[in-house]
């Protein structure tokens, strides 16, 4: 017994070291920085929780927090719906299904920045693809990146495009584990296509849906790449997510305040994670 514990220790040690030094320590380090006044052109002095009080009164911050929440909600919803559709399609057997699966993965596979750049050009007011199609069909052009509503919509679309494949794949795995017998039974009971979906499919894949939901939600809260590239946080700071807000302070040389904001995000993400783990879902999956 002792021997196994010792062996286990050494096997897990490398992972432990990396994670400790490069994930846990830096978070504590960031928290430490947030307790000081760390600005490149001012003398360093201890600030205690001063930055946090400042955060509480910071209207811009709460605006960005609100935006992040609404963005996450909308984006995840869209991904779930689109992901379900795609998963249902891929669940059927047809020729070239393998290639279809590959195609489905593409938006998720490429670097987020590249996808964002493509969408940025699509949304371009004067010669982008979106307005070209719109003008052709309805004569209107939308100021995608210049209006708050437009910017919001464009970001959700761009972000969902990239993350829907991930959701679709997870849901697909869930779909494939639904026992055929249940469908047979439902058919015998007289359920039609749609009834079978809502009464049989959905309840069975509920655990998988929840897993995907939680992962995607926490991920969406951290959103940075697409926003940085497409809108830069605008117009008027409207689409600044919490990560982007923190980053802007780093760039301005104010490491302490930037760290404060990032710790706040950490607390949120951590809390949600803990709540979810406590809800017990993962005890089974782990073993």
């Amino acid at each position: 017994m002792n021997r196994e514990i010792r062996e286990a220790f050494f096997f897990i040690l490398p992972l432990g070291i990396f994670v400790l030094l490069l994930m846990l320590l830096p978070v504590i380090g960031s928290f430490w920085i947030s307790l000081w006044q760390d600005v490149s052109f001012l003398p360093r002095k201890f600030a205690g929780l001063g930055n946090y009080f400042r955060l509480l009164k910071d209207f811009q911050f709460w605006q960005s927090a609100g935006f992040t929440l609404i963005f996450s909600f909308a984006s995840v919803t869209l991904e779930m719906v689109a992901g379900t559709i795609i998963a249902l399609v891929l669940n059927e057997s047809f020729r070239f299904r393998g290639i279809m699966r590959g195609i489905t993965l593409l938006p998720w596979a490429i670097p987020s920045v590249i996808g964002a750049r493509i969408w940025q050009l699509i949304y371009r007011y004067d010669y982008g693809l979106a307005n070209y199609v719109l003008r052709g069909t309805s004569g209107l052009s939308v100021n995608w990146l210049g209006s708050s509503g437009g910017a919001f919509l464009s970001l959700i679309l761009a972000d969902s495009w990239r993350t829907t494949p991930f959701v679709a794949i997870i849901l697909l795995a869930g779909l494939q584990s639904v026992p055929q017998g249940l469908y047979e039974q439902a058919k015998i009971d007289g359920a039609n296509l749609f009834q079978r979906f809502f009464k049989v499919t959905l309840p069975v894949i509920k655990p998988v849906v929840i897993v995907a939901l939680i992962f995607r939600t926490i991920d969406a809260l951290r959103v940075f790449d697409v926003i940085y590239v497409i809108t830069g946080g605008g117009p008027g700071g409207f689409t600044t997510s919490i990560s982007l807000y923190s980053y802007k302070y780093f760039l301005l040389g104010d490491f302490s305040y930037g760290s404060t904001v990032s710790i706040f995000l950490f607390i949120i993400a951590f809390t949600i994670t803990i709540l979810y783990i406590r809800a017990g879902r993962f005890r089974e999956a782990a073993l």
């Binding site: 052109f41 007011y125 990146l145 605008g234 008027g236 301005l252 104010d254």
Partner: protein, 424 residues
């Protein structure tokens, strides 16, 4: 297992050495693409003359990105870049953060004649706690470009006031739109970035307003400013003489290409655009004139003071070589070349009397007058944060998201909070 471990460790160790920094003199420069290309040529000349190898670090065109790509290595106390160009607006932050090498000893050692440079500019911007920490390379200010052929065709004179602009455009825009539906009367930089603040300052100063008064009070929320901001917004939404993507995408290059493609009557831009408008293949070659930016009826002509200055990094490992390159850049010959080829206004006063320059650059007179009406952005280490606030609210106002008086009220509040926080 041990073997694999060793393999991984060795490759890690190997690759840590891989991108070791070669010791070269690194010079970070950005700007419009043609400008950076020209720098490559100049660097070549310097290398031939002085046998010092120089590596040019190309930076993005966007001002904010250029600042970001300097702040990151400087904050990290990196040895590179050794030498770099700075926007007038950043010098205070860089100096206060201790990133700039004081140049007084070099100046004294080589008997560098400071009187050759525009004294007023140096005094305003290049001094920190009494020491010289940067030197001007060229001086800039906002100008009004116009299509002299169109003004002539429709019998319009060069506008003095903003009302004149409106009247002129009224006459011309609809007519021109018959041939070119994409034609707009006046293009300027309204995207949410530093350039917007320059435009904003010009509009408000031309109405008699300002951001900070002499006593140091924040005067953002004033009637003059509100009026000017309302006007900016009306240009896009009410009079519709500025394109709808003014506040989303219009920065220097976008504005320049828009005007250069013949789609605008008036343009607000920096002097660098002149050369490009008149280059081979430009659709508006020979059709462009320059004037002072208009004023409001009760205001004054105002042009944002811009320009780029050069500094040596405090952490540089090649300080002497950097100083040599700096002197090279500020030499008569090179300043003249920059003037003639990039239409940069020299920081050296003697160039303005050079006969060849006077012959080739016809609008030197206008420039001199424009320099007399410059207005500078607030000179403080935390200016970038003040700018962020202004950018955000001004852009929100001109995009129609919030009302101008609301925008300026909030901006005022935000700036006061920043001053309170960062004031020593």
């Amino acid at each position: 297992m041990r073997r694999l471990f060793l393999l991984v460790l060795i490759s890690l160790g190997f690759f840590s050495g891989c991108s070791k920094k070669e010791s070269l003199l690194t010079f970070a420069v950005g700007g419009a693409p043609n400008e950076v290309d020209y720098w490559e040529k100049l660097i070549g000349e310097f290398e031939d003359k002085n046998h010092i190898k120089v590596k040019l670090l190309r930076q993005p065109t966007d001002t904010d990105m250029r600042r970001q790509s300097l702040v990151t290595p400087l904050n990290a106390k990196e040895k590179d870049p050794d030498l770099f160009l700075m926007d007038v607006a950043w010098i205070a932050q860089f100096a206060a953060s201790g990133w700039l090498l004081p140049l007084d000893s070099c100046i004294k050692k080589d008997s560098f004649d400071m009187a050759r440079l525009f004294g007023s500019v140096v005094h305003q911007v290049d001094l920190y706690k009494g020491e010289v920490i940067s030197l001007p390379v060229y001086i800039d200010c906002g100008l009004l470009y116009f299509r002299k052929d169109l003004l002539k065709k429709y019998g319009c004179s060069i506008p003095e006031t903003w009302n004149d602009i409106l009247k002129c455009v009224e006459r011309i825009q609809d007519e021109e739109r018959k041939n070119n539906p994409n034609f707009f009367g006046f293009v300027w930089q309204g995207a949410q970035y530093e350039g917007l603040v320059c435009n904003f300052i010009e509009f408000i100063a031309s109405n008699g307003g300002n951001i900070m008064d002499i006593a140091g009070n924040i005067t953002v929320n004033s009637n003059e400013n509100i009026q000017a901001l309302q006007f900016m917004r009306d240009l896009i939404h009410k009079y519709q003489i500025s394109p709808p993507n003014t506040f989303t995408e219009m920065r220097e290059e976008e504005v320049r290409t828009f005007f250069e493609n013949g789609n605008a009557l008036f343009e607000r831009n920096w002097p660098y655009a002149w050369k490009l408008h008149n280059s081979q293949g430009s659709p508006v070659r020979g059709k462009v004139g320059i004037a002072l930016l208009p004023k409001f009826d009760n205001g004054r002509h105002a042009a944002s003071l811009g320009g780029w200055h050069i500094g040596i990094s405090w952490y540089s490992d090649k300080k002497d070589e950097a100083w040599e390159l700096l002197k090279f850049i500020l030499s008569y010959e090179i300043q003249k070349k920059l003037c003639l080829n990039l239409s940069w206004n020299p920081a050296r006063i003697d160039i303005y009397d050079d006969p060849e320059v006077k012959e080739r650059v016809l609008h030197m007179e206008v420039l001199k007058k424009a320099f007399e009406s410059t207005v500078s952005r607030p000179n403080s280490p935390y200016y970038t944060q003040v700018s962020e606030i202004l950018q955000r609210y001004v852009n929100a106002a001109i995009s129609g998201k919030i009302e101008p008086n609301e925008a300026l009220k909030e901006a005022q509040r935000g700036i006061e909070k920043i001053v309170e926080r960062y004031h020593e």
